[in-house]
Amino acid sequence: MNLNSFKLRLKDALVPLILIFIAFLFSAVWISFMGKSPLEAYSALFAGAFGSTSGIVNTIKKSVPIAFASFAVIVSTKANVFNIGAEGQLAMGAFGATMAGIFLKGLPAAIHIPAAILAAALGGMAFALIPALLRVKRGINLLVVLLLMNNIARFLLQFFVLDAFASDNALVPSTDRIMESARLPYLIGPPYRLTIAILIVLAVAIILELFFRRSTAGYEMRAVGLSPEAARYAGIDINRYMLLGLLLSGALAGVGGGLEILGNHHRLYIDFSPGYGYDGIPIALLSGGSPLISILGSLLFGALRTGSLTMQAKVGISDEIISVIQGSLILCIAANYFVKYLLNRRRADKKGKEAAK
């Protein structure tokens, strides 16, 4: 399996748009199956996400962890591994950030926040370490392990929140609140509460772009992803880059979860992530491996997650429809070879007709 065969060139920019359109169309079938109007539902979704200032702010807010999850998947695919365990690593990163936020005391914010983010990265990285080592040392199927690790993360999260670090005074089961000094400062204060997390997203995206384009390690990692055999022949240690790619990937996913806690929730609870880690997968595959483009995809999914709440309230369609859109989008991506084939055939037909004239 070579994931980099997914690389969609700019002239194929049409393909991702077609795939997204098909996914929406498919989900519309389910909506009308429930006796509701898809048009009404999607316009409520759009209005919820972009119709008001708070809607737009929420869209941007929700896109932060999604963007980090997509960075995580992008980095892993560059090293020819497919990190579908971002959801679990995200949860462990959130846990790391929460721990640093609660138990590191007496630090100024300028040190506490970076320390908490570092803890988040370490949490995600530690959780990616086991599958990475199993892959590199034993050569076993990574995807199966990563999916199981997501299950394990869910139970660990329950253990942390319900048992080990449960707060005594909380309405929903959660941990204690993190210290004031660990909370991300606001760019736009209440009632919108937009934190500096979006600046971190932009910075990380630019750093990643530079890493892959300008650094030797980035170049070699890409070489491993494009053709492991050629890379091995060129003397590149493939296993090292697989390990590195997965660990970096885990760290990025962890930071995404951490920022969600440090910026928005300020405490860890079980359902803090409605599936951000899974959102990252289709985005990463559609963005053609570019972190900057994947930010656009993250905004789309952030908008879906924000707007779906409005849609649920107004039209009465469960916000679970997002999972349907997400799943069908991934299936469309899997079938993208066929879409490309259809496009190619049309082009070939046109050329043939012109030649006949």
């Binding site: 199981l148 329950q158 799943g327 069908s328 299936l331 899997a334």
Partner: protein
């Protein structure tokens, strides 16, 4: 530690390993024709929900099981279309199947029943006919008839794979599709059949989980069982006997954690016990040695007209 305890544990092991076993047999067909199936989980979810729907609307659990088979088959057909016909990457298609059917079932469950779980429906938790047997009837009758159906499927599968022309072709397609095509066998038909059988069996496995173990569907009920089935197939070396063995081993860990939870062993929180089957699955997988024998697994085989 009395004899009674062991009998309870044994029944529990059989109950818990059955879904992994049946889904594993399905995955065996799928992997033997060269298609990797990470969508087993989604096929099981689809089967489980369709089974409950069928039983809910007709009141007959056997029609529910039939609906479950159809549910699994639909998921299998999507996987087949993408992987066999459209030349898609198997892993991504499987992931999509799992995510889509998790989403669709939860969406339908919320839309139809207004909550993330369904009401209780007519189920198949015990086998009435066997309860009349002397001595063993008490124990044999306590298992769902679908457990016995699973055993039957295993025996049939063994003969199909190793004793019929179809089975030999299945083995060959997983090894070298090009040569098989040269021999005049329709590779795509073989691959379709493998994936569709897989969908059907995963549907039964899902129906067993919702109607055989319980009497309702709730969101997240499959919880990684499909992935454990995939592990059982790899560890069982793509043979019914091996799959049965691995499924029983994984089911044993599940049964142990369940017993520990029920008995309330002091000092271990329930969430940590629930981890046990997954950790065991990863441990089992990591003990796997050597490369796979199926050289065409996870490969695309495109029709000529789709090449460009």
């Amino acid at each position: 530690m009395t004899l009674g305890f062991f009998v309870v544990l044994l029944l529990s092991v059989i109950r818990l390993s059955t879904p992994m076993f049946i889904a594993g047999l399905g995955n065996m067909y799928c992997e033997r024709v060269g298609i990797l199936n990470l969508g087993a989980e989604g096929m099981m979810v689809s089967g489980a929900f369709a089974a409950v729907l069928g039983s809910y609307y007709t009141g007959n659990p056997w029609i529910g099981v039939l609906c479950g088979m159809v549910g699994g088959l639909v998921a299998g057909a999507i996987h087949a279309l993408i992987c066999v016909e459209f030349g898609g990457l198997h892993a991504i298609s499987g992931l999509g199947i799992t995510m889509l059917f998790n989403g669709v079932t939860k969406f339908l469950c919320l839309s139809i029943f207004g909550s993330t779980f369904t009401p209780n429906v007519a189920a198949l938790q015990t086998t009435k006919i066997l309860q009349g047997l002397p001595v063993l009837g008490k124990y044999l009758g306590a298992l769902s008839p679908l457990v016995y159906l699973g055993g039957l499927i295993a025996v049939i599968s063994y003969f199909v794979i190793f004793r019929t022309p179809y089975g030999l072709r299945v083995q060959m397609v997983g090894d070298d599709p090009r040569t098989v095509e040269t021999a005049g066998i329709d590779v795509w038909k073989m691959r379709y059949s493998g994936v569709l059988i897989c969908g059907l069996l995963c549907g039964i496995a899902g129906a067993y989980m919702s109607l055989g173990q319980l009497d309702r569907f709730f969101e997240g009920m499959i919880a990684g069982k499909g992935m454990l089935a995939v592990i059982a197939v790899k560890m069982g070396k793509w043979e019914p006997k091996g799959i049965l063995g691995t499924a029983l081993l994984l089911g044993f860990f599940d049964a142990v954690q369940l017993q520990l939870q029920i008995n309330g062993v002091i000092g271990i929180p329930p969430e940590m016990l629930q981890l046990l089957p997954y950790v065991a699955g990863i441990a089992v997988l990591s003990m796997q040695t050597g490369a796979t024998r199926l050289s065409a697994l996870d490969s695309q085989y495109l029709r000529n007209k789709y090449k460009f």
